[in-house]
């Protein structure tokens, strides 16, 4: 196995172009597990740890440009305001040691349906900055995942950053595991309210071959909120609407039975999480609206 250690981003791109089968490694929280378990033995490892810019982020007008290797610990500590959903998801990643090493870039590269950051990215809205010696392209995160542990990156491409919409409203993230910490998701759910566009976006993890949005549920809820004028009047969401939303979220999933949980449980749990996270975000939205009006 060759171990390449490019000193700069340009060198990394050149190396990836030269060795298209090279597996990029940063925190190693996923790649090393796969190697240790002998699930994969890449010919070439491409170590990105010398490239400082991947550990940096910029907060812009609309988006946060998050370097691919920014560890979860940093997101939790520094970007809680701009990326609340992702910060909550980051809290559920592994142990403190893993959170010090693991990053969103790694989650995207691995593209496991159980990756914790995906539902938060889907709900917030995000684009993946994929770069090769040929140039840069921006991939909407919805289109990024193509199958179980597969993404749409070309063989010569590396993830440089993720551009995530700054929160314009409350966001929540919930994940079910059979342990109270350090657990891979049985299923997970992300929800973001976008008052500026008067829309709601969702993300489902670990309950389909790829992370997905529950689009029918979003459309139903968008219409229901609009129809009842709830964005303006700030009333509570009628329980029947919340129930219907939850059912549509359950229905959007396409889960399997596996050693971590049954398909039926995953559907059920997604519905519960959808209902609860909608309640929490909407309560927060109403609270914000009220205090904004008082001010």
């Amino acid at each position: 196995m060759d171990f390449l250690r490019p000193a700069s981003w340009e060198e990394a791109l050149a190396a990836k172009a030269e060795h298209p089968t090279a597996v990029p490694i940063a925190g190693g929280t996923d790649v090393m597990v796969e190697i240790n378990f002998d699930h994969r033995r890449p010919d070439v490892l491409l170590d990105l740890n010398r490239i400082g810019e991947l550990q940096e982020w910029e907060v812009g007008e609309e988006t946060v440009r998050l370097g691919a290797s920014v560890p979860y610990t940093r997101i939790i500590e520094r970007l809680r305001g701009e990326l609340p959903g992702l910060a909550l998801a980051g809290h559920t990643v592994g142990s403190p040691q893993i959170r010090n090493r693991g990053s969103v870039g790694g989650n995207l590269g691995a593209a496991s349906p159980a990756g914790d950051s995906h539902p938060a990215l889907l709900a917030a809205g995000a684009e993946v900055e994929a770069v090769s010696v040929r140039g840069t392209r921006m991939i909407p995160v919805e289109e990024f995942y193509t199958g179980v542990k597969r993404n749409c990156l070309e063989a010569d491409e590396l993830i440089r950053a993720v551009h995530i919409k700054k929160a314009d409203g409350p966001q929540q993230f919930s994940k079910v595991g059979t342990r109270n910490a350090m657990v891979i998701a049985v299923c997970a759910f992300g929800l973001a309210l976008h008052p500026e566009t008067r829309t709601v976006k969702t993300g489902i993890g670990s309950a389909a071959p790829t992370p997905i949005r529950a689009r029918a549920a979003e459309e139903f809820l968008n219409a229901a909120l609009e129809e009842a004028g709830l964005w303006d009047n700030g009333r509570i969401i009628p329980p029947s609407v919340a129930r219907q939303f939850a059912e549509l979220v359950s229905g959007a999933a396409n889960p399997i039975d596996d050693v971590r949980g049954s398909a039926a449980y995953r559907r059920h749990a997604l519905g519960v999480m959808a209902r609860r996270t909608l309640g929490w975000t909407w309560d927060e939205y109403r609270g914000n609206e009220r205090s904004a009006r008082c001010a």
Binding site: S174, V176, T178, R179, N180, A181, Y265, H268, A269, V272
Partner: protein, 793 residues
């Protein structure tokens, strides 16, 4: 409840600093916490090779051929061994029944069974070479439960059995069967006002010790081998290793290396023989270290069990009778199955008085992973079932579950279903009283905590699944009984060598045993005993090895009792020698040498009145007293194969738990808020270690209740051999564990102590499940309880 009784004259040296009863600190504690402790996997030898084991991908298959030529041709490979390379006629091993092949011979019986060995100059080279070994398998039908094991056309796991259980079992796929009959169940049943029955299932728990199987075998010039190994019982390993190697036992010199936990999982051999074979073949030191994945295949697990129980009671709450049938899945090889059957049957009644019983326990041979010893050893499975039954009966009678248990609790003098009398304190009712009386933790603290509310205190913890929605509290109780020491007539002795001499002007005791320190704190306790008995400050614990006699196993809650007892016994003999020497040297100077009771205190010989007669340094004067003695607890008897009668056990250990849980009833997630334990320990030789053992055992029981299970497919394949999917409790899953320690001495045991390591593992599981039942109203007859069970999905 009787007052605490301490037998008279149980010890001397009560003033010895660092003696028994003190919470002296463990010598290995700081090293383990800071990561500096040398575990067996850390060993290194110049020029050493790495061993690797090729394992079966099938649960049941015939081996048509093995072709090792490509593997042998790989650069860096020094040896590839298969069954055909075994050097002697002894090709099997086993704790009680020698049915386990060192390497598979023509057939594999479980997923992960060792088939071939490779030694190479690098672990990766060894792994790759193993992948080049071509094994031609023909898959066979799989036996995976009682029905398939006992079917008319069932494949026999071990055709032609000639072991000592073969003659009395009802089917060759039954390892051992133990019935126990006492009283007249039909008559007692007729007296019952209520009868409840139930079927219960216990999943396959793993010991999940953190230090994987590992060791280093170094070939010696005399043709023997030195083996540095993490194990639970050096001499038991030796007895099984030496014949396979064709070496006399004295040429297999074993030294205990750093053990990273055991919990029963190191009672059976893993890589011991393999490393020795490779070392002797190559003439080079060979190290084998399993990774986590392999470790799940490298040791036996707790027997999964199906249990059927029926109890009756009168309307005033007295138990009338009990019938039960316990089916334990022993997997492909016997391991400790016969003894687990003995425990499960003889302790199936629990810590209750029931005169009329019909009990049957069996262990099966199947193609599932082999199961054997794990903390609680047969008593865990039974306790889950009988405690569920106690709750059911109490509910049926409209009685408080704790009061109902107290009403039926055994006590000193109770006759067990085996006809054995409980002849030491059995404070079952008192333990229950104590846990019930403990204050309950505050309810719905997340609502009252305001800003400091912490999602980690809620079910789901960090995963942020509830902010209080759907959360219901439940409280549950359970109590259990565990035997201490090896039972059923086993000669369960231990050996201790103690040397007392003057070093640098100070008396120093060296304690040498073969006891495996697996984390239980035995080395701490041995030093305490030596200080107490010999009145010295300096005690050196010699590394455990086979240069001294057997210490028996570090299991069955027995080491403080038996090897502690052996250390005490040898120290007493050394003390007698010291006094003899003193009398010879100084007897004429003071009449008290002849007339008074003499003690060793603070490095001096003193009278029981406290008068100093001589300095130990003067008495010894360059001489060393060095004794090695065996020590035995009271003998036990085998259980009658038909009636189950017999004085089978040495001692009992009792613990009771109260669990407080909060259940997210919509998501089926559980947070155990508090798990209080009361346990009688007879005498706490090291109170800090005692509490640590109780908290550890309690947590392991919690793991079985809500998450720990090796999932085996219908094809008998292990589906979750990793810590990613075999979940053990994290600190966020571990509740507050208040511990109430009783010390009611057992006059038959050294210092009155009681073995304590296992009892807390028993009642923890049913207490948690009882609390979940209280919160949800669900029947929950299976552990671990999964979210699916709580949500009907």
């Amino acid at each position: 409840m009787g007052a605490t009784r301490i037998p008279g004259n149980i010890t001397q040296g009560s003033t010895a600093k660092g003696g028994i009863g003190e919470s002296t600190l463990r010598p290995d504690g700081t090293l383990k916490v800071t990561g500096e402790f040398a575990y067996s996997s850390d060993m290194w030898h110049e020029d050493m090779l790495w061993g690797f084991t090729l394992r079966s991908p099938h649960a049941h298959a015939e081996i048509k051929s093995i072709d090792t030529s490509e593997a042998l041709a790989q650069a860096g490979v020094y040896a590839v061994l298969t069954y055909d390379d075994l050097p002697t006629d002894v090709k099997n091993y086993g704790l009680e029944i020698q049915d386990t092949p060192v390497l598979a011979h023509g057939r594999v019986r479980h997923h992960g069974e060792p088939v071939a060995l490779v030694a190479a100059d690098h672990p990766e080279t060894a792994r790759r070479a193993a992948a080049k070994i071509k094994v031609e398998y023909v898959q066979l039908p799989v036996v995976h439960d009682e029905q398939t094991a006992l079917a008319e056309d069932a494949p026999l796991l071990h055709p032609g059995r000639d072991d000592h259980h073969a003659g009395h079992v009802p089917h060759p796929n039954v390892v051992h069967r133990q019935p126990i009959h006492r009283g007249d169940v039909a008559a007692a049943r007729a007296r019952a006002d209520v009868i409840v029955s139930g079927e219960y299932v216990v999943g396959m728990q793993d010991q999940a010790f953190l230090g994987p199987e590992s060791g280093l075998a170094v070939p010696a010039e005399d043709g023997g081998v030195d083996l540095y190994i993490a194990t639970q019982w050096l001499h038991s390993d030796l007895r099984q290793i030496a014949p396979v190697l064709g070496l006399p036992p004295e040429k297999v010199r074993m030294t205990l290396s750093g053990v990273g936990g055991a919990f029963g999982g190191r009672e059976d051999l893993s890589m011991q023989i393999h490393a020795c074979l490779l070392a002797l073949r190559t003439g080079k030191p060979v190290k084998i270290v399993y990774n986590r994945f392999e470790s799940f295949f490298g040791h036996v697990h707790r027997h999964p069990a199906k249990l059927w129980y029926e109890h009756g009671a009168t309307k005033d709450g007295k138990l009338t009778h009990m019938r039960c049938r316990i089916v334990l899945d022993g997997g492909a090889y016997a391991s400790a199955s016969p003894a687990v059957v003995g425990n499960a049957s003889s302790l199936s009644v629990g810590p209750y008085v029931i005169d009329d019983v019909e009990i049957e326990a069996v262990a099966l041979y199947t193609n599932n992973p082999p199961c054997g010893a794990m903390r609680g050893f047969g008593a865990v499975q039974a306790c889950f079932a009988y405690e569920a039954q106690m709750d059911k009966l109490a509910a049926e009678l409209g009685m408080d579950p704790v009061e109902f248990r107290r009403l039926n609790a055994m006590s000193q003098g109770t006759l067990l279903p085996t006809g054995q009398v409980v002849d030491s304190p059995a404070p079952v009712a008192e333990l229950l009283r104590r846990i019930k009386a403990m204050p309950l933790p505050p309810e719905r603290q997340w609502e009252t905590a305001g800003e400091s509310a912490d999602v980690r205190a809620l079910p789901g913890g960090l995963s942020n699944t509830t902010h209080g929605e759907g959360v219901v509290r439940g409280v549950g109780y359970a109590v259990g009984i565990k035997n201490v020491g090896f039972s059923e007539g086993f000669d369960d002795y231990s050996t201790a060598r103690v040397r007392l001499e003057v070093v640098g002007g100070e008396p120093v005791a060296v304690v040498h045993t073969a006891m495996a320190e697996v984390g239980q704190g035995g080395v701490t306790v041995h030093a305490q005993i030596a200080r107490t008995e010999l009145g010295v400050t300096q005690v050196t614990i010699h590394p455990a090895d086979t240069q001294v006699g057997s210490a028996g196993s570090t299991s069955a809650s027995r080491q403080t009792y038996v090897t502690g007892g052996a250390v005490k016994n040898t120290c007493e003999a050394v003390r007698e020698k010291v006094l003899e020497l003193g009398r010879a040297r100084f007897g004429s100077y003071h009449p008290a040498w002849a007339t008074a009771e003499l003690l060793l205190e603070s490095g001096k010989v003193v009278t029981d009145g406290g008068e100093v007669l001589a300095d130990l340094v003067e008495v010894l004067e360059g001489e060393a007293i060095d004794l090695e003695l065996e020590w035995r607890h009271r003998p036990t008897e085998a259980f009658d194969l038909h009636t189950g009668q017999g004085n089978g056990h040495v001692q009992y250990s009792f613990a009771a738990h109260r669990a407080v849980v909060e259940v997210d009833t919509e998501l089926g997630l559980v947070k155990v808020v508090e798990l209080a334990c009361a346990q009688d320990v007879g005498r706490a030789l090291n109170p800090l270690s005692v509490v640590g053992q109780i908290q550890g055992g309690t947590t392991q029981g919690l793991g079985l209740a809500v998450m720990e299970e090796i999932v085996v497919s219908k094809e008998a394949k292990v589906r979750n051999p990793s810590f990613t999917d075999y979940l053990i409790p994290t600190i966020l899953d571990t509740p507050t564990i208040p511990v109430d320690v009783l010390e009611l001495a057992d006059e038959h045991a050294p210092y009155g102590l009681r073995g304590i390591g296992e009892a807390p593992t028993l009642s923890s599981t049913p207490a948690v499940v009882s609390a979940i039942r209280a919160a949800t109203g669900l029947a929950l007859n299976r552990v671990p309880v999964r979210p699916e069970h709580l949500t009907g999905t």
